[in-house]
Symmetry: C2
Subunit: 920 residues, 2 copies
């Protein structure tokens, strides 16, 4: 181990080569004070983090100074058998001097030390690699300097305690190894709290913490056999070695193997000055956005805490202050504009430069240390769907980006927010409290006070509003089950707010008027008269996530609101996309809604949903329980006019557009009652003995219904069912045709696995259709096609295509059969799979492009080899999932079909896919 | 319509061209009297039947004379808009003269007419085409001649009645067309029987039948609007036109479309003289084999009925006489050798020529009409498995065929007969009756008297012997459910005998001592003392299908017997096959048996079968019901030594061969009791509340267990199960290695669909294996591979192969998932599918080469692209199915694995595939 103090002075830095990269022997790239050796394009050499910091610094953004040891050093380090290349010590020492010269403090200075952070940084972020070590440089001497500088001895020793623990764990490897050798620090902390008779860490004094540091170090010595290094330089070199070692941790290696990343890539090490927002009243820390993340309106908005650390803002424990006067809801204290106008104008300048440079709305973390602004991080801001659309169109108008970029920049999932409900304008609201507008949208539901209660309410089909002081990651399931989230603490970047926006769930945060009593499951807010108004678990409340208002009772809901810019964005979208977008809709209402959202037809109309209608389920059951074909036909004859009515409504709603109607798909037992009591009722209704019903239900029961007697198989054994459905479709079409409605029914046969099935069915469908049209004395445009939803159908798609006018890939069932994975049962192990990384995503949500997608491609290729003009679509849930839509574009499908609410999302995703694949 | 009597004399027939085919304008090819215009190679022109008759006639075989109108005439007939080409009339007339000159009778002669049969005959046999019309030429005058010639007026008029009905139906189209227009003949027949007060057709007199003919003809006139044609020539041309018309029947067209046969092929028409075996005591009809179909021993054997028609022999109504004295069991009367020695020697000569020509055992139908022998048909004889092996090896020794042909000629399925049980030699037998040895093998079971009872017994898992007077096609299911079949009537070519041999089911037929009382479900046989011995339903009897003996009680069974020639055949087989053959075996006993049958290892050892053992199921259940990993491990620790013991036994039995062990596959709920009572018992045994058991059973229940939480998915969620199994395997292997046993365990992970699953499992398996070997202080040869049984696995086989030493295709599950077809539920509609021809065969029996096979090929190709030396096998049921084995050979698999009893079948099928694909 060597230290910088022993190393000679750094050699003069050679000039950069023409491509901006210093000559080969440059091992360390510096940044800070408005300059940098590296740049954004050097991610392979500096890692993602190092390159980003270089970029910002070169832009003149005041980032805390630092330097990055290149990934090549890591590779070289391994090639040399774990020793550093010559020159590294000198260049690191020069890097430290570079930091010191900018920060104005010295590394290891007992008076007021320079503290450092050390981070790993590969080309891509990778689990298993070393986390950050913060506050490196603290020892028994420098901690006193920090205490003096901050005027907060407790803070200094708490930082020291945390540093020792973190360093011991990630650098010295002192951690829980087995049952017999537990990690010592938590136990020591707990013992200290016991001795002091306190429950919370925060109740320990500076003295307690000082004692703990000594105990921690003793434990480190005992477990690692070495004294904790007090020399800051030794600390630094230890951390560098630990970063390099973490590149070859078992977990990182497995991850690299799985993703095919070569081990030669190596990791960079970024060393950067720590800055502190808690060294006095001229200090602060905060986050800001270059535009309003809720509305997209241009102008700096954000929150800060004076004399505080960054964690305090994110944790949402203290309610933060606002940055500027322009912002809507007054918060905890004076604004930054009022308290530090100079720092604010510096911040505004930096923010403007960053937005111009990245040409997107930025989310910026900053710290002000003794009046000096430091930008810690910037990234493209998360924003509401409303803001996403509005700001992108506005940026096109500002000339910042072009239309293609506006499309590319949309997160299609966020459009969902625009499609969800808002309150009816002018509807009466009894506002009982106001908080932050943390996630837009309107929510009405019963108040619940635990995530578990939210989950239970969701399971019962009830809307719930989850009320909490603040939220944390373990609350995720409850949050996703809730219709809305209300927190007493935390800002618009608190956990609750960030997560709720991600989920598109309305959220009001930082509603400090709430007095929550968790033991009794209720909260109180002061009413106007000085008394308290109580809301108990189960009471209905309403949240407006776009205004921050909390209302008693259910406020009337209206349809979703779109920003005025939406229409322009969608016109660009529709100009550019190649894929058609249809909707899955089983009712005239759904069909009309889908059409309003931009659907160009129906890709999947499930006729079985119609069978469940209260007015017809009895006839359906009678049909299923019929002893022979005649009785079955009699029951079907009663169903026919009702089905015809359904089709009239749907075809009319889609006037001028195609409507793909899937004939009956589920196994018949799905329509029969399972419970004995219901079976008895049915027996009474049909005038049959209950045993007969029970027997039939029993006889129809299947071991694996998903792979059972359903789809085309029903049609082969009971031809009359499909015959009736075809008659209903054609009669409806002829009736509308007579009215002048432009109808295009497409009859779809499900679950085909052999060409013979479709050949037989096509012949029957065409025959019945011809007979029906003859009787009606009209001809309508009707085609016959099939779902491709079984692997075998993909394999023999060329043979099947001979009998099909179109294919519609049913990727739900195709995923089930390709993986051998029952959607209904996968819940038992899919979470474990996702957690363990065995699957990177749920294949029912996002299409598995390699396996299931491979089958789809095979099916298209073979189908079109037999019939080049075969129309091909997709009608599984994947049709509304953006990455899956991109797959469909690339695979050459003609259209996707998805639920009505996802139509705009699919339209946008289709345009993004077209833009992505357009020649540059 | 034109008749031959009006046509001019036939032109002299031109000489045949050099290739044996007459010049182009030849439309009619004659055969008979030891000569023929055509030959066997002319199937395209003469149809299969016509070419076969020409071949036989040219060989000097006395076939009834006739002629064939070529398929080209049919095509020409359609091309000309349904009119005959010039010259056809003349050539048909010449053909009739040719027949008359050989038969010595004249077409339409009232004194003793020449009657004709007319048949369609395309290149391939095809449903929907015209059946035979027999006895064409009968009218009110010629029938009297037939009556005189046969001395049997009733026979003549019954023939006439049948002719009118048949001709009316197939030529004139008088048949049941709809509810309103029933086919008239059955009604008239029924009315006549009512009037006469009789139940059976045979009770009607010649006069009754004469009246019926008149009624039939009147009905024909009424329904068709035309008189029934009395002119024999008009009858003939009508039949020819009907054959041509049937080529374009809807059913034939659909069949052609499905099989891709062009409509230009056309059909031939074969017209042939009728011969009669019932014109007096110098007449007979029968069937014979050139070798004994039960044993393969050379020499004519067969049966005949004097003064009878062919149907009488096949129907098994009269018990036939034997052909030669050499035959074993004396039958109904004197032998042919005794009654017609000259005809017999002619028959023997013809049989010899046929066997030499076709170089295979022949099954010959013959009729002797007034002392003159006619051969009606010959075909390769169906034979027992024993005879098949014995005769083929003998024919090689005779120089008739070569070894490859001997292999090619085996029906691998029949080998099964050799593998089934026979009675232990010397075991005591209480023989109560003797019949014909109709199908070899030994059967022991409870007597049942209806096919339904046989089915029920089978469902209960009981062996049943089906006892019947005779059998008919609707008894098939009962026959296939029976362990053995015993009939009171019928010969060795009766329905019961033929079907039983086809199924490999032991059968004793023609046991005339049986007096069956079907009303009381029992039979009686005379015992030695003149009294009767009774056997009731449920009593156990034994059948020896190789000797014809029927025994009371259960005779002790021994292992199957092989003909002495078997070893030589299998040595040829093993020289030629490329595919390895392994067995699926879960016990040391099965492993030893498989090895004795020729297995070269185990391809699938299912460890779950071991879990069901009575001594361990409790520990298994405890493991499943464990609340945490620790309790699960404790239960697994108790299972470990038992599993180790299993593996010791199996690996020892396969000393020197690989043993593929599949780790636990089924979902855990399969091991738990379903019934409440059993759950309570389990609760008591485990000292747990019954509700806890019920809750867990309920929690584990799945909607689609086939697609559920099983296979590798169990291992991802409960790693300790596979870890225990791997330990047991490696401990067993090390223990045996120490003893000097040569062990090659191959550890197989089931239900893999992603490479990550296998990567994770391989790492774990290897780790545990290494630890176990380290503890044991030995190293054994162990590999790790995976089942490929999901479509996705085939698609990503290249990625999976990176982590696999071998692939074993699980085509059972692959068939289920590729088709989306649950094996447990498919019974509801698969029969309809097979019946309707939507599927040509059950894909669980014979691999679906296009779909499932396509996935297998994809899997092999991609797997080997990543790892060229990847070992690839198959372990589904298909591994023992000969066409599937051929597929595996062609697809380039390394081995197949099947149940022990099917190993010889797979070996043979593998050799056949190699022979078939060997360069000629």
């Amino acid at each position: 181990m060597t230290t910088t103090s022993e190393s000679p002075a750094a050699p003069p830095r050679p000039a950069a080569s023409p491509d901006g990269r210093p000559p080969d022997h440059t091992l360390v790239y510096r940044f800070g004070a408005g300059a940098a050796d590296g740049s954004a394009g050097m991610g392979d050499l500096l890692g993602g983090k190092g390159a980003g910091l270089a970029e910002m610094s070169a832009l003149g953004i005041p980032v805390p100074p630092g330097f990055t040891i290149t990934t090549e050093v890591c590779a070289d380090y391994y090639a040399r058998g774990l020793s550093y290349p010559p020159g590294l010590e000198e260049q690191v020492a020069a890097g430290i001097e570079h930091i010191e010269s900018i920060a104005g403090t010295r590394f290891g200075d007992e008076a007021g030390p320079l503290l450092l952070s050390v981070r790993s940084g590969a080309r891509v972020s990778m689990p298993g690699m070393m986390d950050t070590v913060l506050n490196l440089g603290l020892n028994d001497e420098t901690v006193e300097g920090l205490a003096r500088a901050s005027g907060d001895e407790r803070f200094a020793f708490d930082s020291y305690r945390r540093f020792v623990q973190m360093y011991a764990s990630v650098v010295l490897g002192v951690r829980r190894a087995s049952e017999e050798a537990p990690e010592p620090f938590e136990a020591l902390l707990a013992a200290m709290k016991r001795r002091r008779g306190v429950e919370l860490d925060t109740a320990l004094t500076a003295g307690d913490l000082r004692d703990l540091v000594a105990q921690y170090k003793a434990a480190v010595h005992e477990q690692s056999g070495r004294a904790f290094p007090d020399d800051p330089a030794e600390q630094l070199w230890g951390a560098i070695a630990a970063v390099f070692a973490s590149w070859n941790s078992p977990r990182a290696r497995v991850y690299r193997d799985l993703h095919g990343y070569p081990s030669e890539w190596g990791t960079a090490v970024t060393v950067q000055a720590m800055v502190f927002g808690n060294l006095g009243d001229d200090c602060a820390t905060g986050v800001c956005f270059t535009r309003d993340p809720a509305t997209g309106v241009r102008g700096l908005v954000g929150e800060f805490l004076a004399n505080a650390q960054g964690e305090d803002v994110v944790a949402g424990v203290r309610t933060p202050q606002k940055i500027g006067a322009a912002e809507r809801a007054p918060l905890g204290g004076p604004t930054l504009e009022e308290t530090m106008p100079e720092a604010l104008s510096e911040l505004a300048a930096a923010a403007g430069r960053l937005e111009d440079h990245f040409r997107d709305m930025q989310d910026i973390e900053f710290t002000i240390q003794q009046g000096r602004l430091w930008i810690l991080q910037t990234r493209n801001a998360k924003r509401s769907g409303y803001a996403m659309v509005a700001s992108a169109v506005e940026m096109v108008d500002e000339g910042l980006i072009d239309e293609q970029e506006a499309i590319r920049r949309q997160d299609p999932e966020r459009l969902g927010e625009l499609l969800h409900q808002v309150f009816r304008p002018g509807a009466p609201r009894e506002v009982i409290a106001r908080g932050l507008a943390a996630s837009p949208g309107a929510a009405v539901g019963r108040a619940v006070f635990t995530p578990a209660a939210a989950v239970e309410a969701h399971a019962r089909g009830e809307a719930a509003i989850l009320v909490r002081d603040e939220t944390s990651p373990e609350d995720i399931e409850g949050m996703s089950s809730a219709a809305g989230i209300l927190t007493a603490r935390g800002g618009t970047t608190s956990h609750a707010a960030v997560v709720a926006r991600g989920m598109g769930t309305p959220c009001v945060s930082g509603c400090s008027a709430l007095q929550i009593d968790f033991r009794r499951d209720r909260f109180a807010v002061p009413d106007g008269d000085g008394s308290l108004l109580e809301v108990r678990a189960g009471d209905v409340i309403s949240l407006d996530g776009s205004t921050g208002e909390v209302m008693r009772g259910a406020v009337a809901l209206a349809d979703a609101s779109f920003p005025p810019e939406y229409e322009r964005l969608m016109s660009w979208v529709n100009e550019r996309r190649r894929l058609g977008v249809r909707a899955n809709a089983d009712t005239p209402e759904d069909a009309s809604r889908a059409r309003a959202f931009g659907a160009e037809g129906i890709g999947l109309c499930r006729t079985e949903h119609m069978f469940f209608g209260e007015d017809r389920i009895l006839a359906v059951r009678e049909m299923i329980l019929a002893e022979d074909e005649e009785a079955r036909r009699a029951a079907l004859d009663r169903i026919l006019p009702m089905q015809r009515g359904d089709f009239v409504g749907i075809l009319r709603a889609m006037d001028g557009y195609p409507v793909t109607i899937r004939l009956l798909d589920p196994p018949l037992h799905e329509f029969l009652p399972r419970a004995g009591r219901e079976q008895e009722e049915l027996a009474r209704a049909l005038g049959r003995p209950p045993e007969a019903i029970a027997r039939r239900v029993d006889a129809l029961r299947e071991f694996n219904p998903m792979l059972g007697h359903r789809g085309v198989r029903l049609a082969i054994t009971y031809p009359e069912i499909y015959e009736t459905q075809v008659r209903a479709i054609i009669e409806a079409a002829c009736e509308l045709d007579a009215e002048g409605v432009d109808v295009h029914p497409e009859i779809m046969i499900p679950l085909v696995s052999t060409e013979a099935e479709l050949a037989v069915l096509r012949e029957r469908v065409v025959r019945v259709a011809e007979q029906t049209m003859e009787r009606a004395g009209r001809r309508v445009d009707v085609t016959v096609g099939t779902m491709i939803e079984l692997p075998r159908a993909c394999l023999v798609a060329d043979l099947i295509a001979e009998h099909a006018d179109f294919f519609s890939f049913g990727t739900n069932d195709l995923t089930q059969t390709a993986f051998g994975l029952s959607r209904d049962d996968a819940g038992r192990f899919l979470p474990t799979y996702l957690e363990a990384g065995v699957l990177s995503r749920d294949p029912f949500v996002e299409i598995d492009t390699v396996g299931v997608g491979g089958l789809v491609k095979l099916g298209i290729e073979r189908g079109r080899s037999a019939k080049p003009d075969l129309k091909v679509g997709i009608c599984g849930e994947h049709g509304g999932n953006p990455p899956s839509v991109a797959f469909c574009h690339d695979a050459g499908l003609d259209y996707v079909s998805c639920s009505p609410y996802r139509v705009p999302i699919a339209l946008l995703a289709a345009a993004q896919a077209a833009v992505a694949s357009a020649p540059a």
